[in-house]
Amino acid sequence: MQRKDRKFATPLAFALLIATVALQGCALFVSHYDAGAYQNFTNLKAYHVKFLEDNKSGEGKLFDEAKTKTACDTGELKFREASEYANGKQDTTRVKAIDYLHNAFNKECELLTLKSKKLFGSEYVVQETEQIKQNYDWAIAGECARVGTPTK
C-alpha cells in the first residue's frame, strides 16, 4: 500500500508544479486570443492601405495639405484607440504589435506633411503597400497564434 502511494505522488507533484507556473501568470505565457484586438488589426489594415492609395501621385492628382493632415489625424486617432485597447489587455506583445504599425504610419505622415509636402511617388507606394500588408499580416498571425483562437 505504501509503495503505491509513493508512485502516485510523482505525476501529481509534476502536475502541481506546472499548474503553479501557469496560474502565477508567469511571463512565459501570453494573453489569450482577443476578438476586439483582431478586429482592430483588420480595420487599421484597411484604413492604412487606403491611405497609401489615396496619397499616391497620378495624373490630375494634386497634393492637398489640409486633406492629408485630416487623413493623418484620423489615422492617429484610430491607432491611439487600438493602443489604449491593447494597453487595457496588459500584454506587451500586443501593445508592441500596434506600435510597429503605428510607427510606420507616423513615418508616412511625416514624409507627406513635413518633409516632401507632395504626394507619394508611385514606386514608393507599390513598395510600401507590400511591406505594410506584410506587417499587418504578421500582427494578425500573432493574434491568431494565441490560445483560444476560434477554429474555422
Binding site: K4, A19, A22, V30, K96, E123, E128, Q131, I132, G142
Partner: protein
Amino acid sequence: MATIDDVVDSLKGDAVKLIKDQLKDLLTSAKSDADSIIKETGQKITDWLALRAQGKLSDDELEALIYSRDQLLRQYKNTLEIQARARVEKIAVGLINLVLDKILGLPLGK
C-alpha cells in the same frame, strides 16, 4: 530585380570604398541567409537602392521604406515570440488537463 554589383557600382563620389565593401558583404550574406525574411530584406534593400539610383525613389522615400522594413522585422520577431509562448502554454495546459482529468486516479505501477 537588381544585382548587388549594380547597386554598389551606382554609388558615386563620396561613397568610400570601405562603405561599398561593407554594403556588398552585408547584402551578400543577407541574400544567402537560410531565413526567408532575412533573404527577402537583402533583396528588397538591393532593389530600393537600384530604384533610388534610377531616380524612381527619393532619399526621403528610401529612408521611409527602410524604417518601415525595420518595423516589419520587429513585428516578425514579436510574432515569433507570441507563437513560441502560446505553444508552451498549449503544451503545459494540455499536460495539466491530461494528468488531472485522465491520469490521476488510475492505478500506477508495473
